[in-house]
Symmetry: C2
Subunit: 328 residues, 2 copies
């Protein structure tokens, strides 16, 4: 498998996107998000998304979205069907801008396509010292608890909590598996875990092909995951005025609820208590000796460090698809 | 089993609490919360809490908490060890007050005892048309994912979404079972589900007595529940300046993040999209014919309606403990 350095990949991807007509600034933002997802180990949101994005740019171009509303502590963006990764970035950047003058900010987007690796945008906020709670929907893939047909999206709930040197990033789909994980399972010839999907007749299946061929995903943790998924659906769509149940890649919605960590107590106090929580968690006797408890986001951060050092391995097939016969 | 009307219970409970020295206003608030929990079917937070609260008042009295900080959109309350149910009510009421002038409010409490049925306080906000996201911690009962000793509380995450006639209330412990559910299981001679608890040696157990006798609870949904529980711990303790890992019934923390539903779009638009989401969910083909999908909070609301009509059944033992030999 070819192994490319982050720097090489950055240049090659930038050439692809600028070649497809995307401006230099947007290209820079987009490439960083894709490389971050890939190097975090979140491949479902990394390089495999490049070709669909290039196809999107070829057929639909990229018109920038527009801000429909903005005041001192809130803003609403209409993505106008542009690349969702850039929409999410615009919302996180706007929240950061508002938080320089307001103790909290609510920023939403409607009209988006796939809003990308939401944890990245929570990390943008957390690295500035801000708490972010993000909700994003997508087209129907998941059955509500007690139903056998899809209504809700995979609907991630994402919470970024500032901490040095690495923020805590909680980032979870409210489904037991995801579209991306099904595709990876198919590619690798693996089955899904029990209780993660239904086939087209509404029966439980562990075959990812059946889940994607007219079947659907199930919520994680039964009624609890469903309840969270429904809240995410409303907190994204209703809050931003987007479609209740969007068509594929049409009018997806994202909301960012962000606040300064010193909104109630001094930042130093927040930091010290957070440090005490993390130390207590790390000090807990591990269930498997020698395997210490992980902090959410810790594994991704370690993956990114390794990728910066060692580069990113990509399959021959993906490498050729993206860069042609002789990539290195 | 004796069956008492809500009105009878209200009078009897009020007599108990005022008799224990609690003021009339606080008594009224506390009794409503207890009756609401009991009639919602959430008995772990209902009448069985009355005797411990009376004992608390007998030994520690009730000094009101104090507001440490307050501005146009945020406020911090020190509960000073008072009854946690009243602390949570004070925070929700303060958030409602702030939202009359600000589109957003963050209200926190430190120094609390058991903060009660958090869904009730989310519903207070939602019934006023406000979105509320609430986080509460408690003393260590749950092992982090990958550990075998308790560090985190049962740490509910609660989201209230306004809708007429009944708001949507997502209210879930981030543990696979709770202290209250263990106590009920012991009383009813039932076992816990698999994967919900560890015994004192760190081995899996389904015996609720073992879980409570030096064992601990496990997060729901493995790493996902743990990640949410950790976020709740930080969003309650660090945000409010409370203990990172509180001792039992000491310095528990609660935070309320609340916003107007029209912060980005008109309220009518939020309402209409929310209605469309709910209709789509209700229209989904049920997995079991004749058993339609439920909206989070729907079953509790039906329970409350029935209790208002038919009264509340309580066991002979509880009735005698609370009200003596001849309650009716």
């Amino acid at each position: 498998m070819p192994c490319l350095s982050i720097e090489e990949l950055r240049k090659k991807l930038a050439a692809l996107f600028t070649g497809a007509g995307l401006g230099e600034r947007d290209t820079g933002i987009l490439v960083e998000i894709i490389l971050d997802a890939e190097s975090s180990g979140r491949r479902t949101h990394g390089l495999i998304r490049v070709r669909p994005m290039l196809a999107h740019l070829a057929t639909r171009g990229h018109r920038p979205g527009k801000w429909l509303q903005e005041d001192a502590c809130s803003a609403l963006y209409d993505s106008l069907g542009g690349l969702g990764y850039l929409t999410s970035h615009a919302c996180a950047a706007k929240a950061i801008e508002l938080l320089s003058k307001s103790p909290f900010a609510v920023v939403g987007a409607c009209g988006a396509t796939h809003t990308g690796p939401i944890g990245y945008f929570a990390r943008m906020l957390a690295q500035k010292g801000y708490i972010g709670i993000l909700f994003a929907n997508c087209s129907p893939m998941a059955a509500p608890f007690g139903a056998k047909e899809p209504v809700l999206g995979t609907n991630p709930i994402t919470i970024g909590l500032p901490f040095e040197p690495e923020p805590i990033i909680v980032d979870l789909a409210t489904t037991a598996t995801t579209y991306g994980e099904c595709r990876v399972a198919i590619a690798e010839g693996r089955m899904l875990p029990q209780g993660a999907a239904l086939d087209s007749r509404g029966n439980q299946t562990t075959d990812p092909r059946e889940a994607l061929a007219g079947g659907c995903l199930l919520p994680f943790a039964a009624h609890k995951g469903y309840a969270l998924a429904l809240a995410v659906q409303i907190l994204s769509s209703a809050l931003t005025g987007a479609s209740a149940v969007p068509e594929p890649a049409t009018d997806y919605a994202l909301s960012v609820i962000a606040l300064r960590r010193d909104i109630l107590v001094r930042a130093g106090r927040y930091d010290s208590i957070t440090g005490n929580v993390l130390r207590a968690v790390k000090a807990a006797a591990p269930a498997v000796p020698g395997e210490p408890v992980l902090i959410p986001g810790e594994r991704s951060a370690a993956n990114r460090q390794r990728a910066r050092r060692e580069g990113i391995e990509i399959t021959d097939q993906l490498c050729e698809e993206l860069f042609g016969q002789d990539p290195v």
